[in-house]
Symmetry: C2
Subunit: 189 residues, 2 copies
C-alpha cells in the first residue's frame, strides 16, 4: 500500500536497527483516513473467504479492525490483555510474550463470541516476533474456528513472526513489509 | 439514538441494579455498523465546533473515536493506560480511579500530539462516575487545549459522572441515557 509506505518514510521515527515508531499516525495518535483505507485493502484481499468475524487484540489493532469489519459487514472482537471485573470468566486464553512490555501476558476472548463455524480474519498493526498473531491463532483453534488469514499493517521481515505465520500455512497479507533498517533508513521489501 | 437504545434493550445484560454489560456489541465484540452510526451522530453534533482532535482512552472508546475522527476529518488520540517501552517519556498524565479494576491508574498522552490551539472532542463508550472523562479533561487542560465537548455512547444518569461534567460547563452529548435499572429492566431518560 503505497500511501502507507510513503507515510512511514515521512513520519515514522527509527530507533537503532529495529524499532520503528509510528505513534503519530498508528498507535497513539491515529490517522483515521489511513486506517480506513487499510481497512478497505484488507476487506478487498479477504472478501472471497466468507469471513464471519474479525479478531484483533487490544489496543493498536482496534482502529484498523473497526474499518475492516465495517467493510466486510461482520462484527469484530478484540481480545483482552488486561483482566477486568467486567470480563466473563468463561474465556479462551493464550499466553504470549510481549517484547514491548518485556513480560508474558495472557490474552482472552469470551467463549460467547467465537465458535466452531466462524471464519476469522486476524488483524494487527505490527508483525515482528508474531506473538500476538500466534496467540490469536491459538484462541481460534481452541474455539474450533477457522483462521482464514491474517492482515497486518506493518511487517518487520527481519524479525521471525512473518515466517512463523506463513510456515503454518496461514495466509498473511502485510500492507508494508520492512526488509531492513540501515543507518536509520527504512528499506521496504 | 433510537437504534442504540433498541440494541441495549435487546442485547445488554443487566447485573444487579447498576451494571449493564454490552460486551456483545460495544466493548468486547463490537458492531462496526452501530459504532459508525454513533460516530456520524457525534460528528453531526460537534461539526460546528472546529474540532482539531478527537481524544479517547484505551480501549473501548477507540472504535467510536475512529469513526468520529474519520467523519470530522481530524486525527484521534488514545490516551494510554498501561506503561509500555514504546511510549515517549514526555507526557501529560492524569490519575483516575478505575471502578472496573478497583484501583488507581495513570493515563498518559504524549506532549507531541496535543497542544495549545487544539479544540478537542472527548469520546468514550460509558459514562458512570466520570473518572475517564475527567482525566482526559485534565490532560487537555495541562496541554492548554480547549475541550469543545464530550460524547459518550451510554450514560448511566444514576451515577454522578454526567453531573460532574455538566457542572464544569462542558458540553456533554450522550447517545443513550439510562436513568435507572429496576428489577433487571433498563429505563431510559
Amino acid at each position: 500500500m503505497d500511501l502507507l509506505k510513503e507515510r512511514i518514510l515521512r513520519d515514522a521515527r527509527v530507533i537503532g536497527d529495529d524499532i520503528v515508531k509510528v505513534g503519530s499516525f498508528v498507535n497513539h495518535m491515529v490517522d483515521p483516513v489511513l486506517m480506513s483505507l487499510a481497512g478497505k485493502e484488507f476487506a478487498r484481499a479477504f472478501r472471497g473467504e466468507g469471513i464471519t468475524k474479525v479478531l484483533t487484540v487490544e489496543t493498536s489493532g482496534i482502529a484498523i479492525a473497526s474499518f475492516v469489519a465495517l467493510e466486510l459487514g461482520v462484527p469484530f472482537i478484540f481480545a483482552k490483555k488486561y483482566s477486568a471485573r467486567n470480563l466473563d470468566s468463561d474465556v479462551y486464553e493464550a499466553e504470549i510474550f510481549s517484547y514491548t512490555k518485556n513480560s508474558g501476558i495472557i490474552i482472552r476472548v469470551s467463549k460467547d463470541y467465537l465458535s466452531r463455524g466462524d471464519k476469522v480474519l486476524i488483524i494487527d498493526d505490527f508483525l515482528a516476533n508474531g506473538q500476538a498473531l500466534l496467540g490469536l491463532i491459538k484462541i481460534c483453534t481452541l474455539a474450533g474456528a477457522k483462521v482464514s488469514g491474517c492482515g497486518v499493517l506493518i511487517e518487520k521481515a527481519f524479525q521471525p513472526g512473518g515466517e512463523f505465520i506463513r510456515s503454518r500455512g496461514v495466509r498473511l497479507e502485510s500492507l508494508a513489509i520492512i526488509s531492513s533498517i540501515k543507518n536509520g533508513d527504512i528499506i521496504f521489501k
